[in-house]
C-alpha cells in the first residue's frame, strides 16, 4: 500500500515535521531548474586569436573578405573614406550592438535581479554607446515602428547552457571595423552566448535584407578574468567632437565617388586576393571557392605588414626574446628600443 503525503505528514510529529519542512525546502532550493542555466556574471578578457588585424590596428581599406555583401552594401562601402567618421553626426555609426565582435577589448556581464529572478543580462564592453540589455522576463519586442535606441532591443532565453538572444531595433551602422561595411536598421541578430569552463563563446548571426545576401556569422572567444582587469576598458559612451574644422558647417560629406575609390584594389595588389573575394561576395565564403582558385592564386612572396601582430600588440615586447619580427608597422626607433629590451 502506498502512503499518501498527508499520511506521511501525520506520521511525523512536531520537531520532526519542522525538520522535514526545512529539509524539503532546501532540496527544492538547490535542485530546482534555475532561470539562468549558467552564471555569466564577471569580466572576460579578449582573445584576439582570430582577425587580429581587424580587431587590433584595423582592417585594410577595401578588405571585405569573409563578408556576404549585397551589391548595395558593396557600393555603399566603397564610398567610405577614413574622414567620414570625423563628422560629428557620423562618429557613433561604428558603435552598434555586438560590434564588440570586431574590437580589441574585453567584456563585463552582470545580471539584473528582481525578487530573486534574473530579469535581464547586461553586457558592457567596447561598444562605446551604452550597454546591451537582454531582457529575460518574457516581454515582447516593440512594434517595428518603435524608436531604435543605440543598443537596439534584445530578449533572451536559455537553451541548455546557451543564452539565445534576439536583437532588433538597431540603428544604421558600420559593421566590422574601419572599412565602412554598412549595416541597415532592418538588421536583426541572433546571438548565442555559451560558457564552457572559463571560455565564453559569443556567436552572432546577422540578417540584413538591405546590405547582406545571407546571414553573416561570426564566433569569438573570451576568457573569464577573475581579476576583472578588463574593467577599465569597458567604455560605455561615444563622445563626439569636431575633428576636421574645415568641414564644419560646409555641408560637405567626405566620400569617394562611385568607381573612384583608390583602395578598391588594395587587397588584390598587396595580397593577391581575388577581387571578388576582396569585395565580399557570399560564394567566396565556402570551400568550393578555394578550388576555383587552384592554379590561379599565388601567395605573396613574403609577409610585409602585421605579420606577427599578436606579439607586437600595444607596441609592447612579446615574450619571445631576440625575435626578429617583420612587423612593418612600428616606427624604427620603437622597434629598436623593443629589440634592445629583449
Amino acid at each position: 500500500m502506498k502512503a499518501s503525503l498527508p499520511m506521511v505528514a501525520r506520521a511525523l510529529s512536531g520537531p520532526r515535521l519542522k525538520q522535514g519542512v526545512i529539509a524539503l525546502g532546501i532540496v527544492i532550493a538547490v535542485s530546482s531548474p534555475a532561470f539562468a542555466q549558467v552564471e555569466l556574471s564577471g569580466s572576460y578578457s579578449i582573445r584576439m586569436y582570430e582577425d587580429y588585424i581587424e580587431r587590433g590596428p584595423g582592417s585594410f581599406m577595401g578588405d571585405f573578405t569573409g563578408m556576404p555583401m549585397s551589391d548595395e552594401g558593396r557600393a555603399k562601402a566603397l564610398l567610405y573614406t577614413s574622414n567620414l567618421p570625423s563628422m560629428i553626426e557620423r562618429q557613433c555609426l561604428a558603435q552598434s550592438p555586438w560590434v564588440g565582435q570586431y574590437r580589441p577589448l574585453g567584456l563585463r556581464i552582470w545580471s539584473e535581479v528582481d525578487d530573486g529572478r534574473v530579469v535581464a543580462w547586461v553586457i558592457a564592453g567596447d561598444y562605446l554607446r551604452g550597454t546591451i540589455t537582454i531582457w529575460m522576463d518574457g516581454r515582447p519586442h516593440p512594434s517595428p515602428n518603435a524608436w531604435h535606441p543605440p543598443s537596439g532591443f534584445s530578449t533572451g532565453h536559455w537553451e541548455g547552457d546557451t543564452l539565445v538572444v534576439r536583437t532588433t531595433h538597431v540603428k544604421t551602422a558600420w559593421i566590422r571595423r574601419g572599412v565602412g561595411i554598412p549595416g541597415s536598421d532592418k538588421s536583426e541578430f541572433t546571438v548565442l552566448i555559451t560558457r564552457h569552463e572559463n571560455l565564453l563563446t559569443i556567436t552572432t548571426i546577422q540578417d540584413d535584407p538591405i546590405y547582406l545576401t545571407e546571414p553573416h556569422v561570426v564566433s569569438r572567444v573570451w576568457e573569464f578574468d577573475p581579476n576583472g582587469s578588463q574593467a577599465p576598458n569597458n567604455r560605455s559612451t561615444c563622445n563626439v567632437g569636431n575633428e576636421i574644422p574645415a568641414l564644419e558647417d560646409t555641408g560637405k560629406v567626405p566620400h569617394y565617388l562611385p568607381g573612384a575609390n583608390p583602395e578598391e584594389d588594395y587587397m588584390v595588389k598587396h595580397y593577391n586576393v581575388p577581387k571578388d573575394a576582396a569585395m565580399g561576395h557570399a560564394y567566396t565564403l565556402y570551400p568550393e571557392y578555394r578550388k576555383m582558385l587552384r592554379g590561379s592564386y599565388t601567395p605573396p612572396t613574403s609577409c610585409d605588414r602585421y605579420c606577427c601582430g599578436w606579439i607586437e600588440r600595444q607596441g609592447l615586447p612579446g615574450a619571445a626574446p631576440s625575435l626578429t619580427c617583420n612587423d612593418g608597422n612600428l616606427p624604427r626607433a620603437l622597434r629598436d628600443a623593443l629589440t634592445n629590451q629583449r
Partner: protein, 254 residues
C-alpha cells in the same frame, strides 16, 4: 499554514520541480536499473550530417595559403616562430608529409566540409573532404594508444543538461585529442608539436527558420611552440544538399 500542510505543499513542489537526477539519487544513488544507455542512445544533440565551414573569419589565412612568416594572431613562442620561418613545403612533400596542415587542430579551421556519423554506439566519425581525413571521437577508452597520427586519439564525453520529468534535454560534446603527429595550425607552416593537446566543445543550435549551426570552441595547448593556449571558435552550417562534397587529397602548398 500548518506545518503538516506546508510539508505536503513542499513535497508536491519537489515532485514537480526536482530534477530526475536528484530523485534518482534518493532512490538509491544511481541511474535506473538495467544497462546504461550507449553514448549514441544518450546523445543530447544530433551532430550527424554534412556540415560546411563558413569562412567569415580569418579569410586570408584559412581560405588561401598565406606567405611564409605570416603568423599573425597565433601566440607562438620564439621556437614556434623560428620553426614557422623555416617552413619548406618542398621538404614536406619529399618526406611524404603533405598532410601536416590537415591534423585535427589545423583541419578544423580549414575550408572543409565534414560528415559526422556514428561508426558504432561508442564512436562518432568525422570525415572531411578537405584532405580526406577521418577523426574518430571515442566515448569509450581506446585502450592502448596507437601510433601517433595526424588525427591523434580523441576521447569524447557528453555534457548533458535538463531531461528531468520530460523536460527537453540539452547538451554539448567535449573532446580531447592527444597523440598527434607534429603538424601545422596554418597552411604556411605555423607549427604544433606532438605534445599538443586539442580540446573542443561542440555546440549545436537550431534557429527558428530551421538553420542549424555547429560552433566548435577549441583550445590548442602546446608547451613546445605556444606561449599561451590558442583559443578560437569555428562555426559550420548543416547542409541538406550534400552534392558539394568533393574529396581532395592533402596538398602541402595550396
Amino acid at each position: 499554514m500548518s506545518a503538516a500542510r506546508a510539508f505536503v505543499v513542499l513535497a508536491i513542489a519537489c515532485l514537480v520541480l526536482c530534477p530526475a537526477g536528484v530523485r534518482a539519487q534518493r532512490r538509491g544513488g544511481g541511474p535506473p536499473a538495467g544497462p546504461p544507455a550507449s553514448p549514441r542512445a544518450a546523445a543530447p544533440i544530433d551532430l550527424t550530417g554534412q556540415w560546411v565551414a563558413i569562412i567569415s573569419e580569418d579569410w586570408r589565412w584559412r581560405m588561401i595559403t598565406p606567405p611564409k612568416g605570416d603568423i599573425v594572431s597565433i601566440p607562438l613562442n620564439l621556437q614556434g616562430q623560428q620553426t614557422a620561418e623555416a617552413w619548406d613545403p618542398a621538404k614536406d612533400e619529399a618526406a611524404g608529409e603533405q598532410c601536416k596542415a590537415y591534423g585535427a587542430p589545423g583541419l578544423m579551421r580549414g575550408p572543409i566540409r565534414m560528415r559526422i556519423s556514428w561508426a558504432d554506439d561508442n564512436t562518432l566519425k568525422v570525415e572531411t573532404d578537405y584532405g580526406m581525413q577521418t577523426r574518430l571521437l571515442q566515448f569509450a577508452s581506446a585502450g592502448t594508444s596507437p601510433a601517433r597520427s595526424w588525427q591523434g586519439t580523441t576521447s569524447a564525453q557528453w555534457l548533458i543538461k535538463g531531461g528531468g520529468r520530460g523536460s527537453q534535454r540539452y547538451g554539448s560534446l567535449k573532446t580531447i585529442t592527444t597523440n598527434l603527429r607534429p603538424g601545422y595550425l596554418r597552411k604556411n607552416g605555423v607549427p604544433y608539436s606532438e605534445r599538443a593537446v586539442f580540446t573542443e566543445f561542440w555546440d549545436m543550435h537550431t534557429l527558428p527558420n530551421g538553420d542549424r549551426y555547429l560552433v566548435n570552441t577549441n583550445v590548442v595547448e602546446d608547451p613546445v611552440y605556444l606561449q599561451l593556449p590558442f583559443e578560437t571558435a569555428i562555426h559550420y552550417r548543416l547542409e541538406r544538399d550534400t552534392s558539394r562534397w568533393d574529396p581532395t587529397p592533402c596538398d602541402a602548398r595550396f
